[in-house]
């Protein structure tokens, strides 16, 4: 797979997490406007990959965002460059109101334009609008995930990374979340998604990487990976 000018590129990325080697020399590239899925069994290093790109775990190797090296930058600097991570477990501010959680996404930027992503957030998740004054901790699991994605969108990212967005959500809302992800991409945001739900994820993704014990073992068009029986049995346990 050759990409003319990737939005994000990692070269020989190694990461150690809690004393264990979690990533073993990962090479990965994402073109602007793509949805790229990273799939693999539990413990393959998928979450660590996202956290490494966000600057939250110690790494060696190179990461380029829009051509500029970002490896070793502090998490808040990486965020300001336009990379947002919706972490596993959502990490909302539980005691703050929904509106304050959203506002916090925008506050690291300056100027009156910073609240503009709100239009998109309300369009994607009208429920949030009805619950603006509620504390985040009073929302349902699905609503919390919507808020986590909404808060990340408020940072006006060019790359949105989602870690298990369907986790702990009732099935009816899972479809809404995946539909929202497709719409976010349509708005020009590039997406890197880690998910356990293979069918739904590969259905909206353009390409996919299959990870096993910290290495990429397979890369290709999402449709091809979804349709490959052998891959599914060998790496994805289904």
């Amino acid at each position: 797979m050759s990409l003319e000018r990737p939005l994000l590129e990692t070269r020989r990325l190694f990461a150690h997490y809690r004393g264990l080697a979690a990533l073993h020399g990962l090479d990965l590239a994402i073109a602007p406007g793509e949805i790229v899925a990273v799939v693999g069994a539990n413990g393959a290093g998928k979450s660590t990959l996202l956290r490494a790109i966000a600057g939250q775990v110690a790494i060696s190797g190179e990461i380029f965002f829009d051509g500029a090296p970002i490896a070793g930058l502090a998490p808040h600097r990486i965020s300001r460059l336009g990379i947002a991570l919706v972490p596993e477990g959502r990490r909302l501010f539980p005691r703050l109101a929904v509106e304050d959680n959203l506002r916090l996404g925008a506050y690291a930027r300056r100027g009156p334009e910073r609240f503009r992503p709100l239009d998109l957030v309300f369009e994607l998740f009208p429920r949030l609008r009805e619950r603006l004054r509620q504390r985040a901790e009073t929302l349902s699991g699905g609503e919390q995930q919507m808020l986590a994605i909404g808060r990340a969108l408020m940072t006006a990212p060019r790359l949105l990374m989602l870690d298990e967005p369907s986790q702990g959500i009732m099935p009816r809302l899972v479809d809404d979340i995946f539909a929202a992800i497709a719409r976010i991409r349509a708005g020009g945001v590039t997406i890197l998604i880690v998910e356990q739900r293979l069918a739904e994820t590969l259905a909206i993704a353009d390409r996919a990487y299959v990870m096993q014990t910290g290495r990429i073992v397979l890369a290709g068009a999402a449709g091809a990976i979804a349709g490959n029986e052998e891959v599914r049995r060998a790496y994805l346990g289904m």
């Binding site: 709100l118 239009d119 609008r129 940072t155």
Partner: protein, 333 residues
Amino acid sequence: MAGVVRGTLAARRRREVLLGIAILAFLAVLPLGISNVYLRGLIVLALLYAGLSQAWNILGGYCGQISLGHALYFGIGAYTSTLLFTRLGISPLLGMFAGGLFSGLAAFLVGLPCFRLSGHYYAIATLVIGMMAALLAANWDFINAAEGITISFHGESWADLAFRTAILPFHYVMLAYAALIWLIAWLIEGSRWGFFWRAVKDDVAAARSLGISIYPSKLAAAAISGAATGIGGALYAQYVGFIDPESTLDLSLSVLIALPAVVGGIGTLWGPLLGAAVLIPVQQLSVAWLGSAAGGIDLMVYGALIMALALARPEGLVSFFQARARKEAAGHG
């Protein structure tokens, strides 16, 4: 549509200001209806602690950094203003801001190494630094060591902030102080720094991932909180007319400064005032009624009351009002 989010915030903040003005007006006329001098003194003390605890709340409540060393900033404010007044003749009206400046600087400097520590270690570090400072002050001859400094009295004067017989002027001085620190907290609540601090308090990793830099946020909160505490220390010195390390730098004072905010509602606009209104009278009255009895009964009664309050209202006294307000808001929605 962005106006929606800004609009509800503006409405919420307008209500807070209106409530603030109403309470300010009430507190301004309150002493006029009270002739009992002891009671008036009690209110003056409660107002001072409302301001001090609000100052602590800026760092401990909004930013979530629990300091057990705020007596240090109180003491620096008290000593700076008192030394400027007694040695150089500079009015405490100016001296209190010099005190605030030094206190803010001290809080910043304490924060430089201590904010590298996480969680409870910050609280422990501030506790130790505060105790060391008290010990040093008690042996430092330049500030009269443990003997303390008496502020000599040359007649009632607003210019020197000196009043011995009348309590009423100090009522308004402390009211102005409490109102000023409340206003600072209110301004912070609506500012992006205020939101940063609350994010830092709730989840450091999440705050960082939204582009918020943690260390400068904490330092700014500490400096503002320390400066606000120092001004209170200077006013206290003028009110009492005497300062020594035991009354301005002791660990117990650090606890007394934090308590009203904790009991009233940590990280809220009204918690410190509410906590001070309840705790200061209880504390003073338990000393007055039980202090002469067998050692420490007053402290036991005081401690038991705080435990009862904490059990009944773990989120602070203010949650009693908030629960009602939320219920009403839900009714409208």
